[in-house]
């Protein structure tokens, strides 16, 4: 019995039992459904073993949407708990678990897969490639990420969720003050998912450097690809720091080392430094691709080229360099002294300059344009003012002396939601709406889409503007309750109402998908928005090899010029179809990561013998890969011609 006791939740409650039951029922329904529909084979052949960047992208998308709802439910619970003074909906321990998982789920398991979905789906199409550089590695990346996500999410039904905040500062997260296995889950699942992200970074850097279509110089790349390149460079340089920090945290918790302990020479501040040396660049890993998406969408609906392409590129490069030099602003109050604070205050404020350049360039892209307010454009236009508000409050927080007051207050919470929601989430939803027809062959309903954007924005403003005010009034973050006398009640109730309105908008998004699936016309062609870049030159649905012949690029907006008689009118002309080499499917990445999952789970509970067995399994899969003689396969010319003819002879 003792063996099983460790898997029990240390602090159960009715809500957790409900969640547990719904998870189990959900799993049974899914398994039964797939069995009944006899889809296991299909699932294995078409999805689990796939190495196609488009399908892997879609799997990232599904995970991101699922996690958006999980993190969203967490958020609503938090806001409901705070809606009234001295509310008893959640107790302190649960509140701590919920805000911890909300943070991690939203940043690492929602925003990250969402942007990686866009990397996967868009980058090869935008540069005219047939796949990423290492398709097998791409599949491995996804399954690493997926298993990390899965491991993290089972924490609240087996063993207990992490409860030391998403920043997981030591010594609070150490064995002395966090006795449940929750923080083990944090350390190990983030490690596994982080490895996947690192592999993604290497893969996409190689892809973008080496697989661009003939004629596409770096300065002719679409802006999203530029942002993806820079984000992946940041990934490659920032994630190893997280790897080290998590490894040290794991050793402290499992092996009793003294990295972040408070005696025997341990140093709790080291964790905070390592975490934010990774954590701040991580913010830019999220926001730069978001900027990239807005830079794709705004020109399409202003029907004009992007203003200031060169300065857009340079501002991103400067942001990426600076992103590694500002981490201390997350703890101005740690006592580094005035000099250190001044340096980091200035570097932080300096980032506002290239960001401002981007805002103005988007505004000037509208100049003399012919603006159509479609749903993606509406998100973009709501993004500009709301994100500016978040940006300028960021400058306020960068004033280190004044930050002594803002730090750890609701003002800070309002700020980072104010950049991440209008910045990242709006970009993701705008991008999703924009690319939906390319993904699935039908458009999302515009009316519902626009209403969603408006309602989301109203909900957003109601949720977060009050937090700025209660923050300035001294309401600390992460406090599960406050007294009536504090006077925070009214504004927190407003924030809760805002959160409910935002929830409605997310449900509308789901409804829109359902409604449009039922009602939208399917004969929309390959380029329904009259867009500008190369991904729209493909057929819908996109054949596995993307492009039957490789495009020859002569300008920045090759596809637009091709359509409207610019330099690129012979984008595909004069080229013979040749046989196309493609990679084979493989189930090994999935199997390897099942071992990884078992390994992680056993480590969480310090069960070392099964952990070693699982690790041997991982090594066996790697050895299998090494010895495998995999030459891929070919699409023969006749096959390609057949496919292309079926899609209305798209070789123009």
């Amino acid at each position: 019995m003792e063996f099983f006791e460790r898997f029990a939740i240390p602090h159960p409650s009715f809500l957790i039992y409900v969640a547990m039951a719904s998870m189990i029922i959900g799993a049974i329904v899914i398994v039964a459904g797939i069995t009944y529909l006899k889809k296991w084979g299909y699932l294995w052949r078409e999805w689990i073993t796939t190495v196609d960047h488009k399908k892997i992208g879609i799997m990232y998308l599904i995970v991101a949407l699922l996690m958006l709802f999980r993190g969203g439910i967490d958020a609503v619970m938090l806001r409901y708990q705070l809606a009234m003074p001295e509310n008893t909906f959640l107790d302190s321990q649960h509140y701590n678990e919920v805000f911890t998982t909300h943070g991690i789920v939203m940043i690492l398991f929602m925003a990250m897969p969402f942007i990686i979905f866009f990397f996967n789906f868009l980058v090869p199409l935008q540069i005219g490639a047939r796949d990423v550089a290492f398709p097998r590695l791409n599949s491995l990346s996804f399954w690493l990420f997926f298993m990390g996500m899965g491991l993290f999410n089972i924490s609240f039904v087996i063993g207990g969720s992490p409860d030391a905040g998403w920043t997981s500062y030591f010594p609070l997260a150490g064995n002395e003050f966090s006795t449940s296995v929750g923080t083990n889950y944090y350390m190990i699942s983030l490690q596994i998912a982080g490895l996947g992200t690192l592999m993604t970074g290497i893969n996409f850097m190689t892809t973008i450097f080496r697989m661009r279509a003939p004629g596409m110089t770096l300065m002719r790349m679409p802006m999203f690809t530029w942002s993806a390149l820079i984000a992946n460079v940041i990934i490659v340089f920032a994630f190893p720091v997280l790897t080290v920090a998590l490894a040290m945290g794991t050793l402290d918790r499992l092996a009793g080392t003294q990295f972040f302990t408070t005696d025997n020479g341990g140093m709790d501040m080291l964790w905070a430094n390592l975490f934010w040396v990774w954590g701040h660049p991580e913010v830019y890993i999220l926001i730069l691709p978001a900027f990239g998406l807005f830079s794709e969408i705004i020109p399409v609906f202003a029907r004009r080229n992007l203003y200031g392409y060169t300065s857009m590129v340079w501002s991103m490069i400067i942001i990426s360099v600076f992103s590694f030099g500002v981490w201390t602003h997350h703890f101005f109050t740690m006592g580094q002294g005035a000099l250190t604070n001044s340096v980091f205050s200035i570097t932080t404020m300096a980032i506002a300059v290239p960001t401002g350049v981007k805002i103005f360039n988007w505004l000037f892209t509208l100049y003399k344009g012919k603006i159509e307010m479609t749903t993606p454009m509406l998100y973009s236009m709501l993004f500009i003012p709301l994100f500016t508000l978040g940006g300028v409050t960021g400058v306020m927080l960068a004033m280190s002396a004044a930050d002594y007051q803002y730090h750890n207050s609701m003002f800070l919470v309002a700020h980072f939601h104010n950049v991440i929601i209008p910045g990242v989430v709006y970009a993701m939803l705008a991008g999703l709406t924009f690319y939906w027809p390319k993904l699935f062959g039908f458009m999302l309903n515009e009316k519902i889409g626009k209403a969603t954007a408006w309602i989301m924005s109203i909900g957003f403003v109601l949720s977060f503007i009050p937090m700025y005010i209660t923050g300035l009034d001294g309401q600390p973050r992460r406090g599960y309750t406050y007294s009536e006398a504090s006077g925070y009640g009214t504004l927190n109730m407003v924030a809760f109402i805002g959160a409910m309105i935002m929830s409605v908008s997310f449900l509308m998004l789901v409804y829109n998908i359902y409604y449009s699936f039922r009602n939208s016309p399917r004969d929309i062609g390959d380029d329904p928005w009259d867009a500008r870049s190369l991904e729209w030159a493909t057929n819908t649905p996109i054949p596995e090899y993307n492009f039957a012949v490789l495009p020859q690029i002569k300008s920045r907006e090759a596809f637009w010029d091709h359509k409207y008689g610019g330099k690129d009118k012979d984008l595909f002309a004069g080229q013979k179809i040749e046989r196309i080499h493609m990679p084979n499917k493989s189930g090994v990445p999935f199997i390897m990561n099942v071992f990884f999952f078992v390994l992680g789970f056993c480590l969480v509970f310090s069960m070392y013998i099964p952990a070693i067995i699982a690790f041997v399994g991982v090594l066996a899969c790697m050895a299998h890969r090494s010895f495998e003689d995999d030459h891929g396969f070919y699409f023969e010319v006749e096959e390609i011609e057949e496919i292309e003819r079926e899609k209305r002879g798209a070789i123009k």
């Binding site: 697989m211 020479g265 140093m267 010895f627």
Partner: protein, 199 residues
């Protein structure tokens, strides 16, 4: 796609091979960040010895010199292996790789002895901030070497079985990059951990 450019060395002949080499260089960039982080932590924690010993008290020059000598030599022999590979000498390639891995194994043996010794004299990984960081940094390098032994063995077997072609040559070349990299890391460990600690 499977275009073979015979004017280039064997490992660079296919596009796939070239991609892998570039990708591996980027991976080494990430590895540099990993070790740079470990070194930074080590410099921060160097003096935080708690109740445990300091570096000067535990470092012994003998084993460290053996490790350094063995690993530097192995870096030379993997270079010879790649040279032989370029000349198309399958047998010499294999032999030099075997020598490399044997030297790696000797290195690892000495390092295991070193760790055992530390644990024995009261400088185990749980003793202080300093020992934790020291042994984690050394251990990370050691794990890389261990992994290299398995990986190198797999490549030797493949070359023996399939001969030198643009796939196996590519693998051997990438392995040599990895091995040289570990050697460079060791030079940093030797200079900034052992020498600095002993002086």
């Amino acid at each position: 796609m499977a275009h073979v450019d015979t004017s280039k060395p064997l490992e660079y002949q296919t596009e796939e091979g070239r991609l892998k080499i570039l990708g591996f260089w980027i991976f080494l960039g990430a590895e540099i960040m990993l070790f740079a982080t470990l070194f930074t932590c080590y410099f921060v924690m160097e003096g935080r010895t708690g109740n445990g010993p300091t570096g000067a008290e535990i470092f012994e020059i003998g084993p460290v010199l053996i490790e350094t000598f063995v690993l530097l030599t192995s870096s030379f022999t993997i270079g010879l292996a790649i040279h032989a590979m370029r000349l198309g000498a399958k047998k010499a390639t294999i032999n030099f790789m075997i020598v490399t891995l044997l030297l790696g194994a000797v290195f690892l043996g000495v390092e295991i002895y070193e760790f055992y010794h530390y644990a024995h004299i009261g400088a185990g990984i749980t003793v202080s901030g300093f020992t934790s960081t020291l042994l984690t940094t050394l251990g990370t390098h050691g794990l890389h070497v261990t992994f290299g032994l398995f990986w190198g063995t797999a490549i030797i077997l493949q070359i023996a079985k399939r001969g030198l072609n643009n796939v196996t040559a590519n693998k051997a070349f990438i392995f040599s990059l990895y091995w040289h990299f570990l050697d460079v890391v060791w030079i940093f460990i030797f200079s900034f951990i052992y020498l600095k600690g002993m002086l």
